[in-house]
């Protein structure tokens, strides 16, 4: 997956905001409240545009409260995004159609041997380039008022996943990360993961999957003093790095998006962090997008990509009096120039 340009035509107050010259690695900067998080949410939604169900994701809704109309939470009556992925430009639009009264709709059960009557509160309509997404597959999302139906291809064939990590990540490692860790171990990358953890916390010999007395699995770190500690006991920075590395691995040929990538990291480890990101995006063919407020993080990224400035873009968001939120991009020579004469890019 490679997105070279993106535009939030109509989304969460960043209408018209476009990123040009997206690179392998992208950093998004700008003052608080300008729309950095909204932008990365929109990019994430766009990468999964054949699955409109993503609109209910908590990272997008920024809430765990049940939502009936996901569009209304993110915009007014519709959402429209445009991007160029792998050289092909797509325009994506979605609208919510509420049913005035809950209808009962036949829905095939899993084994298709029978259908069930499901209360339906509405329908989500999505188009790619004005073509309705309805390839014969139909999905639904449960809400307190009933299901909301939306069309989806029977099988998503897109190569590469897109993983987004928001700022409200939790210290506890959810089960999906246990699965990702297991996949990584099976493919022989366990040592690399341990080495990555040692960047910010030297003395970790091994990471293992253990079971507690209730039978619940958890990740544990074995230290050089042969002490076993739950991963989260090592601190937020370690957990954050652990999740980032797993995400990069899992998103092979896809994309990883991280909000405030420097959170939990001491400035002294940021160069190593970015070296790790650079290696991973090349080895695993991942496109990386992150937001940051940190000068040290930007410096570290510029240093990591010093020899390949075309592979890093820094997109600075700003407010234009007449045109709203816009972006300027430093990449290649302009990135080298910004580094050379210390131009502020936040």
């Amino acid at each position: 997956m490679s997105i070279s340009s993106f535009e939030a035509i109509h989304y969460r107050g960043i209408d018209g905001l476009s990123l040009q010259n997206m690179s392998r690695a992208n950093l998004i900067t700008g003052v608080n409240g300008i729309g950095k998080t909204a932008l990365i949410e929109a990019i994430w939604i766009f990468t999964g545009r054949r699955n409109p169900g993503l609109l209910w994701n908590t990272n997008v809704q920024r809430s765990n409260h049940p939502v009936i109309d996901p569009v209304a939470e993110l915009s007014d009556s519709f959402i429209e995004l445009r991007g160029k992925e792998n050289g092909k430009e797509d325009k994506w639009k979605v609208e919510f159609e509420p049913f005035e009264q809950v209808e009962r709709v036949s829905f095939d059960t899993w084994d298709a041997s029978e259908s069930a009557q499901i209360p339906v509160a509405g329908r989500l309509h999505a188009w790619i380039d004005d073509n309705l997404i309805d390839h014969g597959g139909q999905s639904m999302h449960d809400t307190p008022r009933g299901a909301v139906l939306y069309g989806m291809p029977p099988r998503l064939t897109k190569k590469g996943v897109c993983i987004i990590e928001g700022t409200s990540w939790q210290l506890v490692t959810p089960d999906e990360y246990l699965q990702r860790y297991s996949d990584m171990v099976r493919e022989g990358h366990k040592q690399a993961l341990t080495k990555a953890i040692n960047l910010i916390l030297p003395g970790i010999k091994d990471i293992e999957l253990l079971t507690d007395k209730t039978g619940k699995s958890y990740l544990s770190a074995n230290t050089s003093a042969n002490v076993q500690l739950p991963l989260q006991a090592l601190g937020g920075g370690v957990v954050r790095l652990f999740r980032l590395y797993l995400n990069l691995f899992t998103a092979r040929s896809g994309m990883v998006i991280v909000d405030e990538v420097e959170n939990g990291m001491h400035y002294s480890v940021l160069r190593d962090l970015w070296s790790l990101v650079r290696s991973a995006i090349h080895e695993w063919d991942v496109q990386f997008v992150a937001t940051t407020h940190s000068d040290e993080c930007i410096d570290a990224a510029m240093t990591a990509f010093e020899r390949e400035p075309d592979a890093l873009s820094i997109h600075k968001l700003y407010t234009d009096e007449s045109e709203g939120v816009k972006a300027i991009t430093f990449t290649g020579e302009t990135l080298e120039g910004a580094r050379d004469f210390h131009l502020e890019v936040r």
Partner: protein, 212 residues
């Protein structure tokens, strides 16, 4: 460790681009003397040397997109051995960066932002800012001593420097109450006479930059 120098932000609508810290010190002082409270402020930015000038100017242009009110950019460059070649080099870089350059030294283009180029000392002779500084103090008694020192060096075939103006300014600065090494540092100590006719063309350039 990353550099802890404060990063450059564009905060004025008029910018003067100079090569480095020493030039920034000198021109900052010149601007302070030239402009009174009625004139808008000029921000001095160290853009780097000639080998990275075009690239850095393009970077500045990208950064300046966040400031649509930017009205004028002045560029100062030493002539060194050829004022014509220096002007042409800056002119080409300005064009390649996507700005409209002026047609001649000390002029400003009719564009937004308006671009002005000044080749030190005067757009036609070889030399550098040290040339102007030397001329500005030529009537001082200590200048007479320094000239005598340089004549003595020449007579003994001991003046090896290819840039006699630089030799002069270094020697002149060495005799001040708080000796410093560089002309910009000297400017901060009010060593150079910015009201001298030697600085007249530069003063006019600064005034023109401020009035665009």
């Amino acid at each position: 460790m990353p550099s802890r120098e404060p990063k450059i932000k564009i905060f004025e609508n008029r910018i003067l681009l100079v090569e480095g810290k020493d030039e920034a010190n000198l021109f900052g002082k010149l601007i302070e003397i030239c402009l009174n409270d009625n004139k808008p402020a000029i921000q001095v930015i160290e853009i780097g040397g000639k080998y990275t000038f075009r690239r850095n100017l393009e970077t500045l242009k990208t950064g300046a997109l966040t400031r649509p009110s930017l009205r004028s950019i002045g560029i100062v460059r030493d002539a060194d051995t050829s004022a014509t070649a220096s002007f042409q080099s800056v002119h080409n870089s300005v064009q390649q960066a996507g700005y409209r350059p002026p047609s001649a030294h000390a002029e400003f283009s009719d564009a937004s932002p308006s671009i002005g180029i000044f080749i030190v000392p005067d757009g036609s002779e070889p030399g550098a800012i040290e040339t102007v500084c030397r001329r500005s103090v030529q009537d001082e008694e200590s200048a007479e001593c320094v000239e005598a020192y340089m004549d003595c060096l020449t007579a003994h075939n001991a003046l090896k420097s290819n840039v006699p103006d630089k030799t002069f300014t270094h020697a002149y600065l060495a005799a001040t109450s708080d000796p410093v090494a560089r002309v910009g540092e000297g400017a901060l100590q009010d060593v150079w006479n910015f009201q001298s006719p030697a600085f007249a063309n530069l003063r006019e350039f600064v005034h023109n930059l401020a009035s665009r």
